[in-house]
Symmetry: C2
Subunit: 149 residues, 2 copies
DNA sequence: CTTTATTGGTTTCATAACGCAACTAAAGGA
DNA sequence: TCCTTTAGTTGCGTTATGAAACCAATAAAG
């Protein structure tokens, strides 16, 4: 049967994964953050098949995460760029990257650093903070589900 | 042909997605955070097929993200629990959830809140911070790739 | 003004993954 | 002994993925 969709799950995590949670989509977004704009650029950087890339890009555009800009005074030239909605996925990518830095490569062995130019230093580790700005403990959290109206 | 693996990409994001980036895995981890422990619990909460669930759980155990604990004095009873490596994915789930809260449901309309008991208030929005603790601007970031040794 | 290259795809087809349902295995209880 | 619970495995049809071939529009070359 068809791949199961998570559309109907009343959960932001499921909904987000439904939009960006397949094999390639987050990597396309990653490369967009890292400067890729053109179809061929994504293709060669990722080593993704053209049909899959075309499909994913059109989904991303459809979902408002990227936009397709015609920069074609000269021939067929489009740029795919992140919208604000797309740029707002940066925390997700950062969390994924920091987890991999720590658990796949090990502290200090990551193949890539993201550096803040101002300070010349890498970003701080992202940690969920409470309303008062201090890190939260998992045990101190409570899930509260809203009633359906 | 076989699904493409991201194993060979020298990138923490790709590596992390390689471990937890398929359709179901992050939802299994989410439910583990929310208290699910038993095979049947994951099955009914997620509506996932048994074979897929069995496959994903064994991958998660193999990758050290969950562990399978035999709690079976009486019959066949196992519990699947997150390891430290698994619990450390909490920032990833939080970032995904907060993005969905904002862009899928809209501020204040999320179907679920994660509340800190201490304060009774939801977690703060996760934002990548620079080394000095202030939020970073995307334009002020620089990617630095490490040479292969 | 015809030919060739570039860009951004679409089509085709083999294979792998998914989803459902049925079946199995091991232990406990009636 | 037979039934139930738990945790799977197996079989099979459907869908998605990946590679390669093909296509269309424009530009550049000759």
């Amino acid at each position: 049967m068809a791949r199961k969709r998570f559309d109907d799950m009343p959960c932001s995590i499921a909904q987000t994964l439904n939009l960006v949670g397949d094999w390639w989509t987050l990597l396309i977004i990653r490369d967009a953050f890292f400067g890729a704009r053109r179809f061929a650029e994504f293709e060669t950087r990722l080593g993704i098949a053209k049909n899959i890339l075309a499909n994913r890009l059109s989904q991303l555009v459809e979902n408002g995460i990227m936009q397709k800009v015609d920069i074609g005074q000269t021939g067929t030239h489009y740029a795919y760029e992140l919208t604000e909605k797309g740029r707002d996925l940066f925390p997700v990518l950062t969390a994924l990257r920091q987890w991999g830095d720590k658990w796949v490569y090990g502290e200090g062995c990551a193949p890539m650093d993201v550096i803040e130019r101002k300070s010349g230093r890498p970003l701080a580790r992202m940690v969920p903070l409470g309303a008062d700005g201090t890190p939260v403990a998992l045990e101190d959290l409570e899930i509260r589900l809203k009633e359906k109206s």
